[in-house]
Amino acid sequence: MKLLKDFGMFWYEFVIGDDWKIAVAVVLALAATFGLMETGAFSDHVVVILGTVLIVAFFSISLIIDVREHD
């Protein structure tokens, strides 16, 4: 059991890392971009640009929350 727990912890720390908010930000940004893609209102070229903006925005929010929590 301990081996399984250690194995899980290793992968959590490896993938999620020091700040879980960044992983959440990436997932939310990609999910929102998927939503935009599914509307069919935008071409590929526009969807990827909007996706980039969303990733930047969500990362910025996670960083601001991180800094405020520790100020």
Partner: protein, 266 residues
């Protein structure tokens, strides 16, 4: 070589370089304070384990995942890694997190090695285990970067070349210097790797969203691979803005003690 190929070569070289420097510090601390033979055996076992992991992951990813799924999964993970590195770079550059210091890490490792006590036999289990763990953990990130960059760029040999060249260069410097490699501008290099991982990760993750539409065709960027350069510029500008906005003023003598920079989550 195309811009993307150069990007893969540079990213794998620099990423592997900084991880190799960190692993070298740990192994040197064990070697100089306890046993070189046991420490190097630990490194050897870790390298074999990393080779097995590389082969298993590489085979599994190429065999079971369609291209757009590969781009989404790998791009998403690279993006998370890259943004974690950028977060640390921003916090370090703005004075909110301690600068990574190989000399300090070496002193801590060496002190722990001295406290660990002696072993009865010729083989020193402590330096073996610490060297094995240090090399394996630092190497895992490199393995992931090499596999993901190599597969997504359809050029695994270039990724392997970048990583292995970095290891050789670090080993040469370590043998010549015979001390922790604190002279390497590690923090700056980590910032650079963060920019590359975030840029390639953004590019591939968004391309990979095409897995969810009919035909599973990857999304297309205007300008194809050249878009990575614009992404690089965008991430660079964003991080510079954050570094300027979050910078803490230097404290003068007599000010109340500052909160330790390590307080921000590692």
């Amino acid at each position: 070589m195309s811009a993307a190929t150069w990007g893969v070569l540079i990213a794998t070289f620099v990423a592997c370089f900084v991880e190799a420097v960190e692993a070298t510090t740990i192994v040197m601390a064990m070697g100089f304070t306890r046993s070189w033979r046991s420490a190097m055996t630990g490194v050897g076992v870790a390298l074999v384990a990393l080779a097995i992991v590389t082969a298993a992951f590489g085979y599994a990813l190429t065999t079971w995942l369609p291209e757009s799924a590969l781009q989404l999964v790998i791009g998403g993970l690279l993006l998370i890694f890259g943004l974690q590195w950028l977060r640390k770079a921003i916090l370090r550059s703005s004075g909110r997190k301690a600068i990574h210091d190989e000399d300090k890490i070496y002193r801590e490792q060496a002190a722990a090695a001295k406290l660990a006590g002696t072993t009865s036999g010729t083989f020193d289990m402590f330096s073996f285990m610490v060297s094995l763990k240090g090399t394996f953990l630092e190497g895992m990130e490199v393995v992931f970067i090499v596999i993901t960059f190599g597969l997504n760029a359809h050029n695994v040999p270039i990724a392997v070349l970048g990583a292995s060249t970095a290891v050789v260069v670090v080993l040469i410097i370590a043998v010549i210097a015979r001390k922790p490699l604190a002279m390497i501008p590690e923090n700056l290099m980590k910032y650079g790797v963060g920019l590359l991982l975030a840029s390639f990760g953004t590019f591939w993750a968004l391309e990979g969203l095409g897995i969810f539409r009919a035909g599973r065709k990857s999304l297309e960027w205007a300008g194809a691979d050249l878009s990575i350069l614009w992404l690089l510029v965008a991430w660079f500008i964003l991080t510079r803005v954050f570094i300027m906005a979050l910078r803490r003023p230097e404290r003068s003598v007599g000010d109340s003690p500052a909160r330790p920079v390590e307080e921000l989550a590692e």
